[in-house]
């Protein structure tokens, strides 16, 4: 059994719907992550990705079930779990430095100003914003704002980074640079990262594991796809890897067709033991870790598309 650093156990989220009925966004959702792992969630709009992330952050409480982090059930937010918001959520009345020091001084309340400032400065330098410390968010470009958000999240030296589509509002070039930076920082600091993404290539580049969610309401975690690409992959030669297209096609097939049909076609789906899909030749399948059911998907035989 792998070390379950994060374990989401049987969570459900329900909202009161029209006429006394309840809408179930998802129920009986299980998901686990090992320490230092980078996971990406992919699913269609409205399936409940943000809801899962907010529950994991402690910003939202599940209607049922529990989230266990490092052996303890969470109750609310924590400085160990930093969130990078989709809309960057910088405080507009504070400067770049002010936004980062606000986070740092919240974590280390007895530090003096100079120490907090020096600490914040190292993270501003890390994301490449040296020289813009005294600008206000309104004077920054979208990419720079998102960098401040990253610096703010990192400055509290969290154990887990939760990212809700952090780059979706950026142009392709800026997005690429920031992906490189986030990947480098997460590897260097050994972060456990949970990221929501709409971009398949982003997920392939960043994630060790990709969670595929079916469409809501009543969304399911359909599969966990293991990334077969080597850990030292580069963003530019990603597509040269022999398994890249197989992986990409598998995810896109899921998004295009199987995300709608999965629930109806897989009556025996066990939400507790979500199939772990390993892309590649059968002989390359690595040893199973734990009681998870393993599937091997061979390019060209797409099992989910036979219907």
């Amino acid at each position: 059994m792998t070390d379950k650093f994060i374990s989401i156990e049987a969570i459900a989220k329900r909202y009161p719907g029209a006429g006394g009925a309840t809408t179930t966004v998802f129920e009986n959702l299980w998901l686990s992550m090992a320490r230092g792992e980078f996971a990406c969630v992919i699913g269609h709009s409205g399936c409940g990705k943000t809801t899962v992330l907010n529950i994991l952050a402690g910003l939202d409480a599940p209607s049922e079930g529990a989230v266990i982090v490092d052996g303890q059930a969470i109750s609310g937010t924590s400085l160990d779990r930093a969130v990078i918001f989709q809309s960057h959520a910088l405080l507009p009345w504070r400067t770049v430095l002010g936004n980062v020091t606000y986070a740092a001084s919240s974590k280390w309340r007895n530090w003096d100003r100079a120490k907090v400032k020096a600490h914040a400065q190292t993270f501003i330098d890390l994301v490449g914003l040296t020289g813009s410390e005294h600008k206000r968010p309104s004077e920054l470009s979208g990419g720079m704002k998102q960098r401040v958000g990253i610096a703010r999240a990192l400055s509290i030296t969290p154990k887990i980074m939760l990212m809700d589509e952090p780059f979706s509002a950026l142009d392709a070039l800026t997005r690429g640079t920031l992906q490189d930076e986030v990947r480098r920082i997460c590897l260097e600091t050994g972060q456990t990262a949970f990221m929501i993404s709409h971009d398949v290539d982003e997920a392939i580049y960043l994630a060790d594991k990709i969670f595929l969610m079916t469409n809501g309401p009543g969304a399911l975690l359909a599969e966990v796809v293991e990334n077969p690409l080597p850990r030292d992959r580069g963003r530019t030669d990603l597509h040269r890897h022999p398994l890249y297209y197989a992986l990409r096609n598998h995810i896109i097939d899921f998004l295009v067709t199987r995300s709608k049909t999965f629930t109806a076609e897989t009556p025996g789906h066990d939400p507790r033991n979500v199939p772990l899909v390993h892309i590649g030749k059968p002989g390359l399948t690595i040893a199973s870790s734990g009681d998870e059911q393993r599937q091997t998907w061979i390019p060209g035989t797409s099992p989910g598309l036979t219907a």
Binding site: G58, L59, T77, S78, A82, P92, P137
Partner: protein, 279 residues
């Protein structure tokens, strides 16, 4: 471009002022029919009747009188004859006291109501009923309970300036962007620190707008309140000069009320600009 626009606007303003003063001068200068009457009666009737001079003072009369007032703003010759500076000082002091008391009540209370949906719903009917009451309607009740005309005037200022501030504070606090609150929550910032570091700066522009509306209303109301309670203040001065039939002084008072009101508004506008943040 914008500086030349400002220059042209300034020139037009001066031209309009000159035109206004000119028309005013001509309108009040024209002599009416002179009635023939006995000298004793003419003495009683004054210049209006004997020389056909208009009862309305012209700009030159007002200017001369204003100059006289400005040279001696703080003289005090007993209850019915005080310098304009003293009268304005009384009014500003009353407005200031009532307004500051209202700030002290409205902002903390607005914070509580804005942060608590329960309180907000529970207090809403009271606020809805109390808000549209003309502040002067409270005057008899205030006089009866407080038994002091000066404090009653302050109370009336308090009650009229509290509503815009209270409602704006409630609205500003309740509509702080959820993502900013979430930032504070993920950083485990406590409620008090959150109120000062997130809610207050986020709501400050809305709160200051309420304060600016309030000071305007307070300055409108003080004139009427002082006419009622009498004794001192610019409102009393206006009423007293009306009883003296000194239209010149009434016009001067009107001018000064306008200028002071504008200054108060400008002060609050400057504070509002200081706390406004670009997004």
């Amino acid at each position: 471009m914008s500086s030349s626009l400002r220059l042209r606007a300034g020139l037009v303003s001066i031209a309009l002022l000159a035109a206004f003063l000119g028309i005013w001068h001509l309108a009040t200068h024209s002599t009416g029919p002179v009635a023939t009457m006995s000298p004793e009666y003419a003495k009683l009737m004054g210049l209006t009747a004997t020389q056909g001079k208009s009862a309305m003072p012209g700009p030159l009369d007002v200017g001369a009188k204003l100059w006289e007032h400005l040279r001696r703003p703080f003289y005090d010759n007993g209850p019915n004859d005080k310098g304009l500076g003293i009268q304005l000082g009384y009014s500003i002091a009353r407005v200031g006291t009532g307004y500051l008391l209202a700030v002290l009540v409205a902002i903390p209370l607005g914070f509580l109501i804005g942060m608590s949906p329960l309180l907000s719903k529970a207090l809403d009917p009271f606020i809805q009923v109390l808000k549209p009451i003309s502040p002067l309607a409270w005057m008899p009740l205030a006089l009866y309970t407080i038994k002091d005309s000066s404090i009653s005037a302050i109370f009336v200022i308090f009650i009229c300036s509290i509503w815009p501030m209270l409602l704006n504070t409630v609205f500003g606090v309740a509509s702080v962007r959820k993502e900013w609150i979430n930032v504070a929550r993920t950083l485990e910032v406590g409620t008090i620190r959150r109120a000062f570091t997130v809610v207050l700066p986020a709501a400050a522009p809305t709160i200051l707008t309420g304060m600016r509306i309030s000071i305007g209303i307070a300055w409108l109301v003080i004139v009427a309140a002082e006419m009622l309670v009498g004794g001192t203040g610019i409102g009393y001065f206006v009423w007293n000069e009306w009883n003296n039939l000194s239209i010149t002084n009434v016009i001067i008072a009107i001018l000064l009320i306008g200028i002071v009101g504008m200054l108060l508004d400008q002060i609050l506008a400057r504070f509002t600009r200081m706390v406004t943040f670009p997004e």
